[in-house]
C-alpha cells in the first residue's frame, strides 16, 4: 500500500502538469459551482445575522393616536412576543432635503456606530453614514423636536436602512427620504410613542427571508393582529379618559376659579348687602325713631287732642250743661210761668198729670189764652201753629212739651213728697246747677291752660326730633350712595365674570364635543418589508440564485468532461507501466488503486482548493458588487457543507468512475500486450479524399490537418463539446446582458412614454381646469387621467402584484403607453369586451387570449377578467381596461385617481415634485427617470454578475482549451519532435498542431452558439422574476462577441502552445520509447 502511495505520488510528480490540469479544472468547476450556489445563501445569511445582531424588528406598529407604556406592557405580555420597544420618528426638512429623524432605541433596531460617538444630549445626533459626516451641523425644520439645531457626533448604519439609494418615501419635500438621523428619545416633544417595534420569540432563531421565518412571522403577526382590537379600544379609552380628565380638570379649574370669583363676588356682595342691611336697619331705626317720634308726637298730640277734646267735651258738656241749664232755666221759667198762670188754679200742689188733665178740660179759648201765654212767654220754644180748637192737637202739643226731656229732667228732680214746694225745689236745683256750672267753667279754664302748655312742649320736642332725624337721614343717604357705587362695581365685575366663564365653558364644551368626536385609533401593522431595501435585497439574492441554477451546473459538466478526457488519456498513456506492474504480479486492484489515488488527490485537493477559493472569492466578489447598493456588514460565509461535500463527491465519482472504467478496460489486456506499445491510431483516409478534385487542390498542410482532425474521433468530440460549452456560456452571459439591458430601452423608450406619474388627492371624473392649470404651472405637460390600483393574482399560491389601469381616454393612453404584440409589433387596442394584460403575467399564468384570469383587490376580493389581448411589456405587470369593461366587471364607476404625463424638461425634478406636493392636489409624484435609475442600478448589478460569470466562463474556456491542447501535444509529442527534426520552423510546427485546433475551435464555437441560444433561453426563464420579463433574443453582435472571445482564447492558447512547442526537446521526445 505504501508502495502504491509512493507510486501515485511519483506519478503526480512526473505528470505534474496533467495533475495540475485535473486539479485546476476540478477546483474551477467545484469552486464555481459551490461558490455561486453559496453566494445567495451567504448574502442572505449575512443580512440575516446582521438583522439578528442588531435585533431588527419583526413587526412595527404605527397608530393614528400613538402608543403608551401600557400598550407596550400589553404587547410584552403576549406569548410569542420577545422584545417590545416604543419609539418616535418624524419626517422633516433639512435644507430642502426630506429626512427622517428617529429615536435611539436601546434594544431593537440597534445601529452600528461607524464613526464618532453616541449623542449625550438633545443637540447631538447620530446620522446616516452614507450621507453625513461627523461634525456636520444641521437645522431641522420641525416642531416635533425640542432641539432642532443639531450636530452630528456619530455616523451609523441602521439595519432598517440597508439600501443606500432608497430610504423610503415621505409626504414632505420631494417625497423621497434622503437620509436619516437618530436623536435621543427625550428630544421628541410628545410623550406618546409614535411607533412600536417588536420582535418575536419564534422568529428570533429563524434566518431572515427564509420560509420558516415567514411562517413564524405569520404566526406572530396573527397573534399581534388579534391583540390590535384590544389595543385600539384601550388606547381609545385612555385617550378619551385622559381628555375627559383633562377636560374635567379644566372644568374644575374653571369652576374653582369661578367659585373663587363667585366667593369673592359673594363676599363683596355680602359686605355690600350687610352694609346695605345695616344702612337699611339704620334707615329703619331712623324710620322707627321717626315713627316713634311721630307716634310719640301723635300720642302727645292725641293726648293733647284728647285733652283738647276732653276740654272741648268739658266745654261742650259745660255748654250742654249751660244749655241744659239754660233750657232747664227756660223750662224752669216756663214751668214757673205756667205755674204762675193766673187763670189757673193754684197748681202748686198739683201734679203734672193733674195739670194736663186740667188743661185738656180747658175751653179752647182758655187753651188759646194759655198757649198765647206760653207764646208770650218768649221762651226759646217752637210753638207750632196749632188749631186750638182742636183740643186733641193742643193736648198733644202740650204733652210733647211736657214730656220733653228737659222738662222731665227737671220734673224728675222734683220730689213730690218733699216738704219743700216744687218751686222751692226748683230754686234749689237752679242754685246747684249754677254752682256746678261755675266749677265746670273753672275746671275748663285750668284744663285749657294745661293744654296750651302741653302743646307748646310737644311742639318744641317734635322740632328737635325732626332736626336730629334729618341729620341722620342725610348721613344715611351718603352711605347709600357709597353702597350704590359698591354695587355698581360689583355688578360690573359680575358681568365680566359671567362673560369670562361663559367663554371658558364654551371652550370646555367644544373640547367635550371634540372628545366625543375622537375616533378609535387605526393601528397599522408593518413587517420588515416596509423597511426600504429589505425586499429588494431578497430579490437581488434571488436573482443571483436564479442565475446560479444554470451556469454552475454547466460549468461542473464541462469540468467533469475535461477531467474525464484527461484521466482517460492518462490511463491510455500509462498502459506500458501498467503492463510492467501486471507482469510483476501486482493485482488489478492494486494497479487501479494508484490511479484512483492519483485522481482522488487531484479531485479532493482540487475540490478543497476550489471550495476554499470559490466559496470565499465568488460570494465576496458578487457581494461587493451589491455592496455598492446596500449598506450591510462584510460578507459572512454560510457555507453549506452539504452542497460542498456533495459537489466534491459528485466530482470525485465522475472522475473516479471514468478512471476506473478506462483503467479496468486497459487492464483486461494481457501484460504482454500491454507491454507492447499500443499501436498508434491508424491513419485513415477521410471521406474528402474520395472527392479527388477538391483533395488535390488542397494544400499539403490542410490535407494533413483534415486527416488529423478525423484521426481521433473522441478528441474531436471532446474538443468541440468543451469549446462549445465555453462559447455557449459566454453567449448566454452576453445574451443575458442583452436581454436585461434591452428591456430598459424598449420598456422606457417604446412602451412607457410618459415621464411622470402623479397620485391625486381626490378622485376625478374629469380633470377640472383649475387642477389642470395647477399641473401645467408645475411642469406637468399633457396630463392624462387614469385609474390605477394595485391588484394581485395568484401564481403557485403566491400573491403577485399587478396594476389595474383604466384610462379616462383610450386615445390619450396611446400617447403614453404603447400596447402592441411583441413578435410582430402590431398595435393592440382596448376593447369593451375584455382586458389587455401584459405578456409576463400571461406567461406566469399560462393563459392566452380569450381565457379568464382571476385577480384580487387589496381586500382579497376576487374578480374574473377576460383577456382580450396580450401586450408587450417587460417591467411590472399591468391589466388595461376600458371604463365600460371596468364597470361591467367591478360594477362601479371608475374613480380616476392618477395622472400620467410628460414633463417640462427645463424644470428641475425636485422642484416639480416639491411644488406639486405643496399644491394639496397631489399625494405623490414619481418620475420615470427615477424608476429607470433604479432599474439601471439593478441591471448594472446583474450585469456585473454576468460579467463575473463571463470571466469564469473565459477562465473555463481557457482551461479547457489549454487542457485539450496540452493533451494534443503530449499525445503527439513524437510526431512534433519528428517535425522539428525534419527542420520545420517553430511557426510551421505550431501551425501544424494548431491548425486543427483552430478548426475544431471554430466548429466548437459554432456549435456553442447554437447551445448558447438554448442555454440563454433557459437562464433567462429561470433568472426572471415574476414582474420582469427579459428580452427573449440575443443581439447579433453578442454572437460575434461570443465567437470572437472564444477565438481570442484560442489564439492566446495557441501562443502559449507555440512557446510550449518551441521548448519541446526533440531528443528527449524521440528517445522515450513507448
Amino acid at each position: 500500500m505504501k508502495l502504491l502511495l509512493k507510486e501515485s505520488l511519483k506519478k503526480i510528480k512526473l505528470t505534474f502538469g496533467r495533475f495540475l490540469s485535473v486539479f485546476f479544472i476540478v477546483a474551477l468547476g467545484v469552486g464555481f459551482f459551490a461558490g455561486i450556489r453559496n453566494t445567495s445563501d451567504d448574502m442572505l445569511y449575512t443580512a440575516s445575522s446582521y438583522y439578528q445582531e442588531q435585533n431588527l424588528m419583526d413587526l412595527k406598529l404605527v397608530s393614528t393616536l400613538g402608543f403608551t407604556d401600557e400598550d407596550i406592557e400589553l404587547l410584552k405580555a403576549m406569548d410569542l412576543v420577545a422584545d417590545v420597544e416604543g419609539s418616535h420618528y418624524v419626517d422633516c426638512l433639512e435644507s430642502s432635503n426630506a429626512i427622517r429623524v428617529l429615536g435611539i432605541t436601546s434594544n431593537i433596531n440597534k445601529t452600528v456606530l461607524v464613526d464618532g460617538r453616541m449623542p449625550k444630549n438633545n443637540n447631538e445626533v447620530l446620522a446616516d453614514a452614507t450621507v453625513y459626516e461627523v461634525g456636520e451641523r444641521l437645522t431641522l425644520d420641525t416642531d416635533a423636536l425640542k432641539e432642532t439645531k443639531v450636530e452630528v457626533v456619530g455616523t451609523i448604519h441602521s439595519p432598517m436602512y440597508i439600501q443606500a439609494s432608497n430610504k423610503g418615501s415621505t409626504q414632505i419635500g420631494n417625497g423621497k427620504i434622503s437620509g436619516y438621523l437618530y436623536t435621543l428619545e427625550e428630544n421628541f416633544n410628545t410623550d406618546v410613542y409614535t411607533v412600536i417595534y417588536l420582535t418575536g420569540k419564534n422568529t428570533k432563531e429563524e434566518s431572515a427571508y427564509s420560509e420558516e421565518y415567514q411562517s413564524a412571522l405569520d404566526q406572530l403577526q396573527k397573534e399581534v393582529e388579534e391583540q390590535l382590537e384590544q389595543l385600539q379600544t384601550r388606547r381609545y379609552n385612555e385617550i378619551k379618559k385622559e381628555a375627559e380628565e383633562k377636560l374635567e380638570d379644566a372644568k374644575k379649574q374653571v369652576e374653582a376659579e369661578q367659585e373663587k370669583y363667585r366667593i369673592e363676588l359673594k363676599s363683596a356682595k355680602e359686605t355690600l348687602d350687610s352694609n346695605n342691611k345695616k344702612l337699611q336697619e339704620l334707615d329703619k331705626q331712623i324710620n322707627e325713631k321717626e315713627k316713634v317720634l311721630q307716634e310719640e308726637t301723635k300720642k302727645a298730640e292725641e293726648q293733647l287732642q284728647e285733652a283738647k277734646e276732653k276740654l272741648e267735651q268739658s266745654k261742650k258738656e259745660y255748654q250742654t250743661d249751660l244749655e241744659e241749664y239754660n233750657t232747664y232755666k227756660s223750662y224752669l221759667d216756663f214751668i214757673y210761668y205756667i205755674y204762675n198762670y193766673d187763670g189757673f188754679p193754684d197748681f202748686s200742689d198739683m201734679t203734672y198729670e193733674e195739670i194736663m188733665a186740667y188743661i185738656v178740660t180747658l175751653s179752647p179759648e182758655e187753651q188759646e189764652k194759655l198757649i198765647e201765654y206760653i207764646k208770650n212767654g218768649n221762651f226759646d220754644m217752637d210753638v207750632p201753629e196749632i188749631d186750638y180748637t182742636d183740643k186733641e192737637a193742643v193736648k198733644k202739643y202740650l204733652e210733647e212739651l211736657w214730656n220733653s226731656e228737659s222738662v222731665q229732667k227737671i220734673i224728675d228732680q222734683i220730689d213730690a213728697n218733699s216738704e219743700e214746694s216744687i218751686l222751692e225745689q226748683l230754686d234749689q236745683i237752679f242754685k246747684d246747677m249754677d254752682q256746678e256750672l261755675d266749677t265746670a267753667l273753672e275746671k275748663i279754664n285750668a284744663a285749657e291752660e294745661a293744654i296750651q302748655k302741653q302743646e307748646q312742649t310737644l311742639n318744641e320736642k317734635t322740632k328737635a326730633s325732626k332736626q336730629m332725624l334729618s341729620k341722620y337721614k342725610e348721613e344715611l343717604q351718603k352711605n347709600y350712595k357709597t353702597l350704590e357705587a359698591g354695587y355698581n362695581t360689583y355688578y360690573l365685575n359680575y358681568d365680566q365674570f359671567e362673560v369670562k366663564f361663559q367663554d371658558a365653558y364654551e371652550t370646555i364644551h367644544k373640547q367635550a364635543i371634540a372628545i366625543e368626536e375622537i375616533e378609535k385609533p387605526t393601528i397599522y401593522l408593518f413587517d420588515r418589508n416596509d423597511n426600504a431595501g429589505y425586499e429588494d435585497y431578497e430579490s437581488d439574492t434571488t436573482r443571483v440564485s436564479n442565475i446560479s441554477k444554470v451556469f454552475p451546473v454547466f460549468f461542473l459538466l464541462v469540468a467533469a468532461l475535461v477531467c474525464l478526457n484527461t484521466m482517460s488519456r492518462m490511463v491510455e498513456e500509462d498502459r506500458g507501466q501498467m503492463g510492467i506492474y501486471k507482469s510483476l504480479g501486482f493485482s488489478n486492484t492494486q494497479i487501479v488503486l494508484t490511479y484512483i489515488l492519483y485522481v482522488a488527490f487531484a479531485t479532493i485537493f482540487g475540490s478543497i482548493v476550489g471550495l476554499l477559493l470559490g466559496c470565499t472569492i465568488l460570494p465576496n466578489v458578487i457581494y461587493n458588487i451589491y455592496s455598492f447598493m446596500y449598506v450591510l456588514p462584510d460578507l459572512k460565509l454560510d457555507n453549506n457543507l452539504l452542497t460542498m461535500c456533495m459537489t466534491t463527491i459528485l466530482m470525485f465519482i465522475v472522475t473516479l468512475s471514468i478512471t476506473l472504467y478506462t483503467a479496468l478496460s486497459v487492464l483486461k489486456e494481457t501484460p504482454a500486450s500491454l507491454l507492447r506499445p499500443k499501436a498508434p491510431a491508424k491513419g485513415k483516409k477521410v471521406l474528402l479524399e474520395k472527392i479527388g478534385f477538391i483533395w488535390k487542390r488542397l494544400n499539403f498542410s490542410f490535407k494533413v490537418t483534415t486527416r488529423n482532425i478525423f484521426r481521433y474521433k473522441k478528441r474531436i468530440f471532446m474538443t468541440i463539446i468543451g469549446i462549445a460549452g465555453c462559447t455557449a456560456l459566454t453567449l448566454a452571459g452576453l445574451g443575458l446582458k442583452d436581454s436585461i439591458t434591452g428591456i430598459i430601452k424598449i420598456q422606457f423608450n417604446d412602451i412607457t412614454k410618459y415621464k411622470a406619474t402623479l397620485v391625486l388627492n381626490n378622485s376625478y371624473q374629469q380633470l377640472d381646469n383649475k387642477t389642470e392649470q395647477i399641473l401645467n404651472e408645475n411642469g406637468i405637460i399633457d396630463p392624462t387621467l387614469i385609474y390605477q390600483e394595485l391588484y394581485s393574482y395568484k401564481m403557485d399560491n403566491k400573491n403577485n402584484d399587478v396594476y389595474l389601469v383604466v384610462p379616462s381616454n383610450t386615445e390619450e393612453l396611446k400617447q403614453y403607453i404603447t400596447l402592441r404584440h411583441r413578435e410582430d409589433k402590431q398595435e393592440v387596442s382596448l376593447k369593451n369586451d375584455g382586458a389587455v394584460i401584459t405578456e409576463k403575467m400571461a406567461l406566469n399564468l399560462n393563459v392566452e387570449k380569450g381565457d379568464m384570469v382571476t385577480i384580487y383587490n387589496p381586500n382579497n376580493q376576487a374578480y374574473k377578467i377576460k383577456i382580450s389581448d396580450i401586450t408587450e411589456n417587460y417591467a411590472y405587470n399591468y391589466i388595461y381596461l376600458t371604463n365600460e369593461y371596468y364597470e361591467e366587471v367591478f360594477d362601479s364607476k371608475v374613480q380616476y385617481n392618477m395622472v400620467i404625463s410628460d414633463l417640462d424638461e427645463d424644470m428641475d425634478k425636485d422642484t416639480i415634485s416639491a411644488s406639486l406636493l405643496n399644491t394639496d392636489r397631489v399625494l405623490n409624484v414619481s418620475f420615470i427617470d427615477d424608476i429607470l435609475e433604479r432599474f439601471n442600478d439593478m441591471i448594472d448589478n446583474l450585469n456585473k454578475i454576468v460579467f463575473v460569470i463571463l470571466i469564469c466562463s473565459c477562465l473555463l474556456a481557457f482551461i479547457v482549451l489549454y487542457n485539450l491542447t496540452t493533451i494534443n501535444i503530449t499525445e503527439r509529442i513524437r510526431e512534433i519532435a519528428t517535425l522539428k527534426v525534419l527542420g520545420f520552423h517553430d511557426k510551421e510546427v505550431s501551425l501544424y498542431v494548431y491548425r486543427e485546433t483552430m478548426i475544431l475551435t471554430v466548429l466548437g464555437a459554432l456549435v456553442g452558439l447554437i447551445f448558447g441560444v438554448f442555454l440563454h433561453r433557459f437562464v433567462i426563464t429561470s433568472a426572471e422574476m415574476e414582474f420582469i420579463m427579459f428580452q427573449r433574443n440575443i443581439n447579433g453582435i453578442s454572437y460575434v462577441y461570443a465567437f470572437i472571445i472564444t477565438m481570442i482564447f484560442s489564439i492566446i492558447i495557441s501562443i502559449f502552445t507555440h512557446f510550449k512547442l518551441k521548448k519541446i526537446n526533440m531528443i528527449e521526445a524521440l528517445k522515450s520509447v513507448e
Binding site: P680, G683, F700, R707, N708, A977, L979, L982, F984, H985
Partner: protein, 233 residues
C-alpha cells in the same frame, strides 16, 4: 579542410549540481560522400555526437564545421534551417507520422526543402513504389524504415544521419536497410553517418569512429568497405 570537421567537441549535461560529461575532446573529420559508422557501446556518447552534428543539440565547447558551416555557432533559427536543408535523419523507431501515407510522409519532408528530390522517385528508389499509398501502420518495420530513409533522402540533404537504423529490425531486414544506405552514399554521393553498437555493421563503412566513454577511442579508415549484402549478424 574536410567536409565535416569536429574539433575538441565537448558536451556537458548539467543535472543540478552534477556535471556529466557526455563527450569530451572529440576530434574527427569526415569527407564528402563518405559512409561513416560511429561505433560504441550504449552510453558512450555516440548519439550526443550525432545530435550535435545534426543540429539537434548544442555543443558545450569545440568546433563542429559542416561544409564550412560552424554548426556550434548557429542560432536556433539557423539550426532549424540547417536541419531543414542540410540534414536528413533516420531513427531506430522510424518516427513516421502515422496519419500520413508513406508517400505523404516523404512529401512532408520534401515540401519544406529548397531542392527536394521527387517523392515518387525516392519511393521507387527505396523500393516501395507499390506501397507508397499505405499508412505506416500497414507497413512492416523494414518498410517503415525505408519510408523513413526515403523521407530523409527526399530532402536532398548534405548529411544523412542514422541513429541505430537497424536496431529495431531483424538482421535480414536490417541488412537490406544498410544496403539502401550504402547505395545512397555511393550512388548519390551523400555523406552518411550511421550510429551503431553493432561492430559488424562497421565493416560497411568507409570510416569507423570508435567512441568509448565520451571520447574517440579510434578512427579506422576502411580502404575496402564490405558490401552490405555480405555482412551478417
Amino acid at each position: 579542410m574536410s567536409y565535416i570537421d569536429v574539433k575538441n567537441l565537448k558536451k556537458v549535461y548539467k543535472m543540478g549540481e552534477v556535471e556529466i560529461k557526455a563527450v569530451d575532446h572529440v576530434d574527427f573529420s569526415i569527407n564528402k560522400g563518405e559512409l561513416v559508422v560511429v561505433l560504441g557501446p550504449s552510453g558512450a556518447g555516440k548519439t550526443t555526437i550525432l545530435n550535435i552534428l545534426g543540429g539537434m543539440d548544442s555543443a558545450t565547447d569545440g568546433h563542429v564545421v559542416v561544409d564550412g558551416k560552424h554548426v556550434e555557432k548557429l542560432s536556433r533559427k539557423e539550426l532549424i534551417n540547417y536541419r531543414r536543408y542540410d540534414i536528413g535523419f533516420v531513427f531506430q523507431f522510424y518516427n513516421l507520422v502515422q496519419n500520413l501515407t508513406a508517400l505523404e510522409n516523404v512529401e512532408l519532408a520534401s515540401q519544406i526543402c529548397k531542392d527536394p528530390l521527387n517523392a515518387d522517385e525516392v519511393m521507387k528508389e527505396v523500393g516501395l513504389e507499390t506501397r507508397k499509398n499505405n499508412f505506416p501502420a500497414q507497413l512492416s518495420g523494414g518498410e517503415q524504415q525505408r519510408v523513413a530513409i526515403a523521407r530523409a533522402i527526399a530532402k536532398n540533404p548534405k548529411l544523412l544521419l542514422c541513429d541505430e537504423p537497424t536496431g529495431a529490425l531483424d538482421s535480414k531486414t536490417g541488412k537490406s536497410i544498410l544496403e539502401l544506405l550504402q547505395k545512397t552514399a555511393r550512388k548519390m554521393g551523400m555523406t552518411v553517418i550511421i550510429i551503431t553498437h553493432n561492430s559488424i555493421i562497421a565493416d560497411i563503412a568507409d570510416k569507423v569512429i570508435k567512441v568509448k566513454n565520451g571520447t574517440i577511442e579510434d578512427v579506422i579508415i576502411n580502404k575496402k568497405p564490405t558490401d552490405a549484402k555480405e555482412i551478417s549478424w
